[in-house]
C-alpha cells in the first residue's frame, strides 16, 4: 500500500495521467461538439474502434504512420458523414443510430482482423506516430511532452472554448443544439451546423483511436474497452463545458493510473474489482456530486 502512495506523488505518475487522459478528452470533446449541435453521438466508442483499426491496417500496409493517421481520420469522417445522414437528413433516433454504428464498427473490426491478419486477437506490430525530437530525451516526462497529439489534446481545452464561445461558428452550432427553430428563423442553416458538429466529432474520435493504436504499437480486439463510453460520461459530468470536461477526464485518468499501479504492485485486491473502478466512479460521481444534469435544450431531438 505504501508503494502505491509514494508512487502517486511522482512525475512519472503525473505523466501517466496525461497519457491516459488523452483518449478520454479527445473522445469527450468529440461527443461534446456533436451534442452542442443537438446530435447525441453514442457512437464515439465505435468511431474510436474504427480509427484504431484503420490506423493499424494502414500503418502495417504502408509502413507510413502519418499516412495511416490521415487515412484513419478520413475513414472516420466518412463514417461520421453517414452518421449525420441518418441523424440529420433522415432524422432518425440518435441513440438507435449510435447503437447500430457501434455494432457495425465492432463487427467490421472483428471480421477484418481475422480475415486480413488471420488472428482473432491482435494485429502484427507497427510504428507509433513520430515524436518531437529533443523533447523526447527529457527524463520522466519526455514521452508525454514530445507527443504531438497529447499536446494538441491539452491545447484542445482552449481551442474548444474559443470555437464554442468566441466564434460565429460556435454560436451557430450551439443555437442549433439549444433552439433550432430560433436559429432557423434567423437564417442559420441549422442542419448544416449539425452535420459540422458530427464531422468534428468524427475527426476528434479518429485522433483518439489512432493515438491509442499507435501508442500500443498494435491493434487488439476490444482495446478501446469502453473508453468512448467513459468519454460520454465525462462530458455529462462536465456538463457540456470544455473546461469542466477537461477536469472530469483528468479525474478518470487519475483513477485509471491508480488502478494500473495497484495492479502492478500486486496487492491482493482482486483485479476484476480494480478494473470496474472507472465505471463505478462514473456512477458514484453522477449520483453523489452532480446536481441534475442539463444537456443542450434540443439535444437528441431530430430537426
Amino acid at each position: 500500500m505504501n508503494d502505491i502512495l509514494t508512487n502517486i506523488f511522482t512525475i512519472t505518475f503525473a505523466a501517466q495521467i496525461f497519457r491516459l487522459f488523452t483518449p478520454y478528452y479527445l473522445g469527450a470533446s468529440a461527443a461534446n461538439f456533436s451534442e452542442r449541435g443537438g446530435i447525441i453521438n453514442i457512437a464515439i466508442e465505435g468511431f474510436m474502434i474504427s480509427s484504431a483499426f484503420s490506423y493499424a491496417l494502414f500503418a502495417i500496409v504502408t509502413g507510413n504512420s502519418l499516412l495511416a493517421l490521415f487515412m484513419a481520420i478520413l475513414i472516420n469522417i466518412i463514417f461520421s458523414f453517414f452518421f449525420s445522414l441518418f441523424t440529420v437528413k433522415l432524422k432518425l433516433n440518435h441513440i438507435v443510430t449510435g447503437v447500430g454504428f457501434n455494432l457495425l464498427m465492432a463487427g467490421l473490426s472483428k471480421f477484418l482482423i481475422i480475415f486480413i491478419f488471420n488472428s482473432s486477437s491482435n494485429t502484427p506490430r507497427f510504428e507509433d506516430l513520430p515524436n518531437a525530437p529533443f523533447l523526447k530525451e527529457i527524463p520522466h516526462i519526455g514521452e508525454v511532452v514530445s507527443d504531438y497529439i497529447i499536446i494538441f489534446t491539452i491545447a484542445l481545452l482552449f481551442i474548444s472554448n474559443y470555437i464554442l464561445f468566441k466564434t460565429k461558428f460556435g454560436l451557430r452550432l450551439r443555437s442549433s443544439g439549444e433552439n433550432p427553430e430560433a436559429g432557423d428563423s434567423l437564417g442559420i442553416m441549422v442542419r448544416k451546423y449539425k452535420v459540422y458538429g458530427v464531422l468534428i466529432s468524427g475527426f476528434l474520435s479518429g485522433l483518439a483511436g489512432a493515438w491509442l493504436a499507435g501508442n500500443q504499437n498494435s491493434y487488439s480486439d476490444g482495446m478501446i474497452a469502453g473508453r468512448g463510453y467513459i468519454a460520454l460520461a465525462a462530458m455529462i459530468i462536465g456538463k457540456w463545458k470544455p473546461t469542466n470536461i477537461f477536469f472530469a477526464c483528468l479525474m478518470f485518468a487519475f483513477f485509471e493510473a491508480l488502478e494500473i499501479s495497484i495492479q502492478i504492485s500486486g496487492t491482493d485486491i482482486p483485479s476484476q474489482l480494480v478494473q470496474i473502478v472507472p465505471y463505478a466512479i462514473t456512477i458514484i460521481v453522477l449520483v453523489a456530486f452532480v446536481a441534475k444534469t442539463k444537456p443542450p435544450a434540443a439535444d437528441g431531438i431530430p430537426y
Binding site: L104, A106, L108, Q272, K292
Partner: protein
C-alpha cells in the same frame, strides 16, 4: 384488406432484408468469395436437417426472451443498453441458488431460482431508473457503465467463490433439475440441445404482447414513451412506470439463464451470453418492439448465428456481426424513407 400501416411495415422490413442481403453480397464479392455458394451452404445447413433447425431455434430462444424484456423498456422510450449486465447478474444468481438447493425436487428448485434470478436482474435494472428519475442522467450512459460493473462483479464472484477449479464455470446441476431436451421426444432433433425453454420463450412473447397492447399498464407504458408530458397530464405517474418498466424488462432478461443453464449446459459459464444483450437490441428494433415480431426477427438472427458457424471455414463467422449491424441500420433508415413516401404530399 391490409391496413396502410401493415403494408408499410411489410414493405420496409422486406426492403431492409433485401438491402442487407445486397450489401452482404457486395462484401463477399469484395473479399473474393462466391456469395451463391456461401448462401447455399447456410441454407442447406440450417434447413436440411432436424439438427440444423434445432440449433437455429436454440440460438433464437434467448434472443426472444431478452428481446421481450427490452421491448417493455423501449415502449416507454427507455433505451436500456444494459441487458448484457442484467441478464448475466440474474442468470448467475439463478445458477447459484439452484446449485445450493440441489437435492430438492425440481418443482421447488425451478420456481425459486427463477424468481431469485428475476429479482436480481430487476434490481440491477432499477439502478439506472432511479438515477434517471433523481438526477436526470440518461439511462443510456448508466446502463452501459453498469454492464462493465456487473460483469466485473460476476466475474469476481464466480472465479473467487463458485467456479470449478481452473475452469470459468460453476459446478453442474443435478440431472433431475434440467429442463428436458426436445430430442428426447422427437427423433427429428437428434443431437441438438434445443429444449423446452423455446416454448417458454414463445409463451413469454405472447404474454408480453398482451401486457403491452391489451392492458392498462401497457397503455400507460406506451403513453409515457410516446409523450411524457402528455402522459403526466392524463394522470399517469411517469416515475412509477419508469421504475416498473425497468424492473420488469431487466427481470425478464434473466430468463435466458433457463435456456443455457437449465436447458443446455447445466452450469453458468463466464461469457456464456456472448453479447446477447446487444444482439437482442437489434432483434427488438427489427421487430419494431412488437413481441410477436420479435419471435420472427429472433429466428432470422438465429439463422444468421448458426449459419455463420456453418460457413466459418469459408468466411470468418464474425461477418455475421456486420450483417446484424447492417440489418439495424437498414431497417431504421428504410422504414423512415418508406414512411416519408407514404406521407400525404403537401
Amino acid at each position: 384488406m391490409m391496413s396502410v400501416k401493415n403494408k408499410k411495415n411489410i414493405l420496409s422490413i422486406s426492403l431492409s432484408v433485401f438491402a442487407t442481403l445486397f450489401i452482404t453480397t457486395l462484401l463477399l464479392l469484395i473479399i473474393g468469395k462466391n456469395p451463391i455458394e456461401i448462401f447455399g451452404l447456410i441454407f442447406q445447413d440450417v434447413f436440411a436437417s432436424g439438427y440444423g433447425i434445432g440449433q437455429t431455434l436454440l440460438k433464437a430462444t434467448p434472443l426472444i426472451i431478452c428481446g421481450c424484456g427490452l421491448a417493455i423498456c423501449f415502449h416507454a422510450s427507455l433505451f436500456n443498453i444494459g441487458a448484457e449486465g442484467q441478464l448475466n447478474a440474474g442468470s448467475f444468481a439463478m445458477a447459484i441458488i439452484a446449485l445450493k438447493m440441489s437435492g430438492l425436487p425440481i418443482y421447488i428448485v425451478l420456481p425459486v431460482s427463477i424468481i431469485f434470478g428475476f429479482i436480481v436482474s430487476g434490481l440491477v435494472g432499477l439502478i439506472p431508473a432511479i438515477i434517471k428519475i433523481k438526477k436526470g442522467v440518461s439511462e443510456v450512459i448508466t446502463t452501459i457503465m453498469l454492464n462493465f460493473i456487473v460483469l466485473g462483479i460476476v466475474n469476481y464472484l464466480l472465479l473467487d467463490f463458485f467456479a470449478v477449479k481452473s475452469t470459468m464455470r460453476t459446478e453442474k446441476l443435478a440431472d433431475n433439475l434440467l429442463i428436458p431436451k426436445l430430442s428426447e421426444y422427437f427423433e427429428l432433433f437428434q443431437g441438438s440441445s434445443l429444449n423446452f425453454t423455446f416454448f417458454i420463450a414463445i409463451i413469454l412473447a405472447v404474454a408480453v404482447y398482451i401486457l403491452i397492447y391489451k392492458t392498462k399498464f401497457g397503455y400507460k407504458l406506451r403513453a409515457v414513451g410516446f409523450n411524457d408530458t402528455a402522459s403526466k397530464y392524463i394522470g399517469i405517474k411517469n416515475n412509477k412506470i419508469i421504475l416498473l418498466a425497468f424492473f420488469l424488462g431487466a427481470g425478464i432478461t434473466s430468463l435466458v439463464g433457463l435456456n443455457f443453464i437449465m436447458g443446455y449446459k447445466g452450469y453458468f459459464e463466464l461469457g456464456f451470453s456472448n453479447n446477447l444483450g446487444f444482439t437482442a437490441i437489434a432483434v427488438t428494433l427489427l421487430a419494431k418492439n412488437n413481441p410477436i415480431g420479435i419471435i420472427f426477427s429472433a429466428l432470422l438472427f438465429g439463422i444468421l448465428d448458426y449459419g455463420g458457424l456453418t460457413v466459418n471455414q469459408q468466411v470468418p463467422k464474425e461477418i455475421m456481426f456486420v450483417v446484424q449491424a447492417l440489418i439495424i441500420l437498414s431497417i431504421i433508415s428504410i422504414d423512415k424513407i418508406v414512411d416519408n413516401y407514404y406521407k400525404p404530399k403537401k
